[in-house]
């Protein structure tokens, strides 16, 4: 029997109430890139780490979204609970490490008691003793361990003290556990009796009374008042002992301002404004840098490999494709840096509380707040963040409207279109209009949420009890390591999820716009080499597969004032919006490398005419029409796939696709023709 034990990889699952220091502990144990969640329920995905390398324990460590009890209340909690009883990949955990905050011991022991009652092997990691110590109390580790009949280790999240001790305890427990039979947990009664729950709390209060002891503070700052208090503490006065469950007074003072009816709103809008402006103005120079680097690499590749189909493939297909993926990374990182800071300080929960009432009027929930903000970066993480919304109808509605929020993929499109509308010295107007577009996208999502909500019974088919129960954690300074880890892992998640799609599509578009006639016959006489190259490029495109496809849909494009070339770009952008700009660049064969890509694209767009009529293709009205189109259209295959996965059926994504696409087309039609009727070019 014993040899098998050494080969077997044990499974340790980390469980804890929201804000119990669980993910901080996971960071210490794994050193990997996962975020701690100060906003309850922010860990929406599993993180797994091997303990072998760092601590020489042959075990997988699984992090999970925070739970309050074994009765799940929302999809993310359901994930955790069902994974405890039977994880699809790893099975039942051999050992559960559960975190509990000493300063709210009774609340967090609730989950611990439930886990022990289900006969799981449990080790308790007790966090934030320092906070309790400041109030003049401490938890007796020995007594608590005796009461619960499991090992208890005190962990200091600020410096990692106690983690080594925890590892030794885990090791000791695993050795004993692996000799025994596999754990078969008792099922937890799904709708357990309310009186049973209250009884559990009564038992916990007895434990708490036994294990919380007065602790003299470090003598240095002992003033008379505190000395008096401690004299009282020495007497077993139950009233005094209640002090250990006093709420952080500093947090209450800060909340007086941040949740104030006027100042709270001012701060809220200020924070949102700073968040969005940083997404544009902070990210822009870095995005330009990234795009210049890839532009340079593409040019160099063409020089080295020569102007043949292979060189063209590497340069225009591959390098430009990778560039179009990488260019969004700075923006996504900045958004998640700010979100991480807001989350880790504790503000996000306040934001959710402030906005709960207005959002509930249109059928959403305060907990829709974080998914909606994330939607400005990318709909994919945003839809996954909606798992924290307990009510299914509100969750589906949140997922439904997320594609309307202007994600970062639309930024380069709007930037290009606005650069066309407001060239050169008028560029600052473009900046203002850009801000307006974002506000408009919020407005659209709110209006459409309200409309959908009206017909929710038919569209969402869910009407259950709406609820908003959220812990407002104590404010604290953000942990830089946690926030940066969060930022890096978001960028990684984006690259993993969206990267391959965009790359493959860019290559596909390169192929469709370059073949079947890669070397078209061109009249080479009387032209400079540059002119010949341009002529060859446009001939190649005019006879390409893409042109065939574009001409097929031209009848649809005409009513909205556009031709087959825009049609091809829109088809290409259907898979991912950001492809629109790169495919326009390919279609108009922007080869002028002396200026920035955007400047030469604007130039090419200005020169473009419809067929041989000499009529301009891009006019202010068609450009505004395109902006309107991208505000509404659900041009992203990855979003469709994630919507399918998160809602559990094809109904919602198909509805979104039909609804948003037709809405986009109709609004573009009205915009273009309306503006023309009003006399705009």
């Amino acid at each position: 029997m014993i040899p098998n034990i050494l080969d077997k990889t044990a499974l340790i699952t980390l469980v804890g109430s929201p804000n119990s220091g669980k993910t901080t502990l996971f960071n210490y144990l794994s050193g990997s890139n996962v975020k701690t969640s100060n906003y309850p329920g922010a860990t929406v995905e599993y993180s797994v780490s091997r303990l072998l390398g760092k601590y020489n324990i042959n075990a997988n460590l699984l992090d999970s979204p925070g739970i309050v009890s074994l009765n799940p209340n929302s999809p993310d909690e359901k994930v955790t609970v069902s994974s405890l009883f039977n994880h699809p990949r790893f099975g039942v955990p051999d050992l559960i490490v559960v975190t509990a905050d000493s300063s709210q011991l009774t609340r967090h022991l609730f989950l611990v008691k439930q886990l022990i009652a289900c006969r799981f092997n449990v080790v308790l990691a007790l966090t934030m003793q320092d906070i309790l110590l400041k109030k003049g109390f401490k938890v007796s580790i020995e007594k608590l361990s005796e009461e619960l009949n499991c090992d208890v280790v005190s962990i200091d999240g600020r410096n990692g003290n106690g983690v080594d001790k925890l590892i030794r305890v885990i090791n000791k427990n695993l050795k004993e556990i692996l000799l025994r039979d596999k754990v078969i947990p008792l099922p937890y009664e799904k709708e357990s009796d309310r009186q049973e729950l209250i009884k559990t709390y009564t038992e916990i209060e007895l434990i708490s009374d036994n294990v919380i002891e007065p602790a003299p503070q470090n003598g240095r700052k002992l003033n008379l008042k505190k000395a008096n208090e401690q004299l009282h503490i020495l007497n077993p006065d139950p009233e005094i002992k209640k002090n250990c469950y006093e709420v952080d007074q500093r947090t209450l003072k800060i909340d007086k301002i941040l949740l104030h009816k006027i100042w709270g709103l001012v701060v809220f809008f200020l924070i949102m404004a700073v968040t969005f402006t940083s997404i544009f103005w902070l990210a822009q120079p870095i995005m330009d840098l990234v795009s210049n680097i890839f532009g340079f690499l593409a040019d160099e590749a063409l020089v080295i490999l020569g102007n043949n189909w292979f060189g063209d493939f590497i340069s225009s297909g591959l390098i430009t494709g990778i560039g179009s993926v990488m260019v969004f990374v700075p923006q996504i990182m900045i958004l998640f840096l700010i979100l991480g800071l807001l989350e880790d300080t504790g503000y996000l929960a306040r934001g959710a509380m402030l906005i709960d009432r207005p959002l509930s009027k249109i059928g959403l929930n305060g907990k829709s707040f974080v998914p909606m903000i994330s939607g400005f970066a990318c709909a994919i993480p945003a839809m996954m963040a909606a798992r924290t919304i307990p009510n299914k109808r509100e969750r589906l509605l949140t997922i439904f409207i997320i594609p309307l929020l202007s994600c970062s993929a639309r930024l380069p499109i709007f930037a290009l279109l606005l650069a066309f509308l407001f060239p050169g010295p008028k560029a600052w107007i473009g900046g203002l209009v850009m801000a307006g577009i974002y506000i408009l996208s919020i407005f659209n999502s709110v209006v459409i949420a309200a409309i959908i909500n009206k017909f929710a019974k038919n569209i969402l088919k869910e009407t259950d009890n709406s609820s908003f129960i959220l812990e407002l954690p104590a404010y604290r300074a953000p942990k830089i390591r946690v926030v940066t880890n969060n930022m890096i892992s978001s960028a990684r998640a984006y690259l993993r999820k969206a990267g391959p799609v965009i790359l493959v599509l860019s290559i596909a578009i390169w192929f469709l716009t370059s073949f079947p006639n890669y070397k078209p016959p061109v009249n080479m006489h009387n032209h400079s080499q540059q002119e010949n190259l341009q002529l060859e490029n446009s001939e190649r495109l005019a006879n390409s597969y893409a042109a065939d496809m574009g001409k097929f849909i031209e009848p649809v494009m005409r009513p909205i004032g556009m031709d087959w070339r825009v049609g091809v770009s829109l088809i290409a952008a259907f898979t991912a919006r950001e492809v629109f700009v790169s495919s326009l660049a390919l279609i108009f064969k922007v080869t002028d490398q002396s200026e920035t890509l955007q400047a030469s694209m604007v130039k090419a767009m200005n020169d473009a005419t419809i067929g041989n009529t000499g009529q301009k293709l891009f006019t202010p009205s068609t450009i505004i029409g395109l902006i309107a189109f991208f505000l509404f259209a659900m041009q992203c295959l990855s979003t469709v796939a994630v919507s399918r996965k998160e809602t559990g059926s094809w109904r919602i994504p198909v509805l979104q696709l039909i609804f948003f696409s037709s809405l986009a087309y109709i609004i573009t039609f009205i915009t273009v023709n309306g503006l023309r009727a009003l006399g705009m070019a």
Binding site: Q104, T106, C244, Y245, V247, D255, R357, S467, F468, E471
Partner: protein, 73 residues
């Protein structure tokens, strides 16, 4: 009987019972609102909803209609 939704700003009370018929009652109990516990209304959001109560060492925000299932004495 008075419910937690009727508390004045800063008012401290002891929970008497939880209305088990309310759909949120299970979660309200699980999160720490149990008979005998002292709670305090520490904050109100705009439009006076949701309400924030201090309970068992932390602050929990719940909607006004959910606070109605917490009977206080």
């Amino acid at each position: 009987m008075k419910t937690a939704s009727q508390l004045e700003y800063g008012e401290r009370v002891i929970i008497d019972s939880i209305d088990e018929k309310h759909p949120s009652s299970r979660r309200i109990i699980e999160i720490g609102f149990t008979p005998g516990q002292e709670i305090q209304l520490v904050n109100k959001s705009i439009f006076n909803d949701p309400l924030a109560f201090s309970v068992r060492g932390t602050v929990i925000a719940i909607r006004k209609n959910e606070a109605e299932c917490i009977k206080v004495s």
